[in-house]
């Protein structure tokens, strides 16, 4: 069987629409770590939103044929639809400050034809340490080694977003 098509223009289109609609969000978790060069493995792309009530989210979803599934007793809030199934919603990260504060230190990474804000590797490590789950502990060594390597050798580091004064 051939390999599945993964992160094609369909998924990129959703990110482009979020940016186009001025949605405040950033990529976090292991997908954010891999974008910066860490050799991590992940199943999904975690998106941390400042607020899920931003109108632009609904507009971006509509544009790519996706929809929002509100949280209930069993499930956290989710996105539904073929083109957005890779994306998970994050509203809080252990060990980190609020979105408004963390986004000031975000790095900017080109992805899918737009520039996306991404949580810096150092903050991903802080959050994994604070969460302390088995799966977080397993990925810590890779992330820490990658952090040191990138610090020493990154040929073209992703740009750190200028903080607003």
């Amino acid at each position: 069987m051939g390999r599945h098509l993964i992160f094609t223009d369909r998924e990129a289109a959703f990110l482009r629409e979020l940016v186009k609609n001025d949605v405040d969000f950033m990529i976090v978790g292991l997908s954010a770590a891999t974008l910066q060069g860490a050799p991590a493995v992940t199943l999904d792309i975690d998106l941390w939103f400042k607020d899920l009530r931003q109108d632009g989210i609904a507009r971006a979803l509509m544009k790519v044929g996706g929809f929002y599934i509100p949280p209930n007793m069993q499930n956290p809030p989710m996105f539904g639809g073929e083109h957005v199934q890779l994306f998970d919603i994050v509203l809080h990260l252990d060990g980190l400050k609020s979105f408004a504060i963390e986004v000031r230190g975000a790095v900017e990474v080109p992805l899918g034809g737009v520039t996306i804000k991404v949580l810096p590797l150092s903050r991903i490590i802080a959050s994994k340490k604070a969460a302390g789950r088995e799966k977080d502990k397993r990925s810590l060594k890779v992330l820490q080694d990658a952090y040191l390597t990138i610090k020493e050798y990154s040929p073209a580091p992703t740009r750190r977003k200028k903080s607003k004064k």
Partner: protein, 123 residues
Amino acid sequence: MRLSPDTIKTLADKRGMNLATLLTRAGVSKTAYYSLTRKDSVFPKSVGSLAEALGVSPSDLVIDREKEARRAKERMSRVAELSAKYPSLDVDNVRHTLILLDLEPEERLRRALLRGQTFDFHG
């Protein structure tokens, strides 16, 4: 120079095509394609057709072995340098990070997702 099947698959993936679709669009048969990937020198016409179907330059589809070897050597010397400076580092983690730093962020993400899908890793 040798045709790079990985680069071709990656570029095709990005354009939402599988290999069969690409070959059909390029007018290159499967037999001709697999034969090309095994040859040390490639036929410009077929490579030109593949490049045209992907919207890239033919030089983007070939592996320059000398350049690759030079790059790998440089990488390994950086691994050794860094391991000497920080003995607790895992050399494989360093090497894989350096390999990923040579790629575009989008390709790094695609590889991580592909491995996650392949190994059903939960992270």
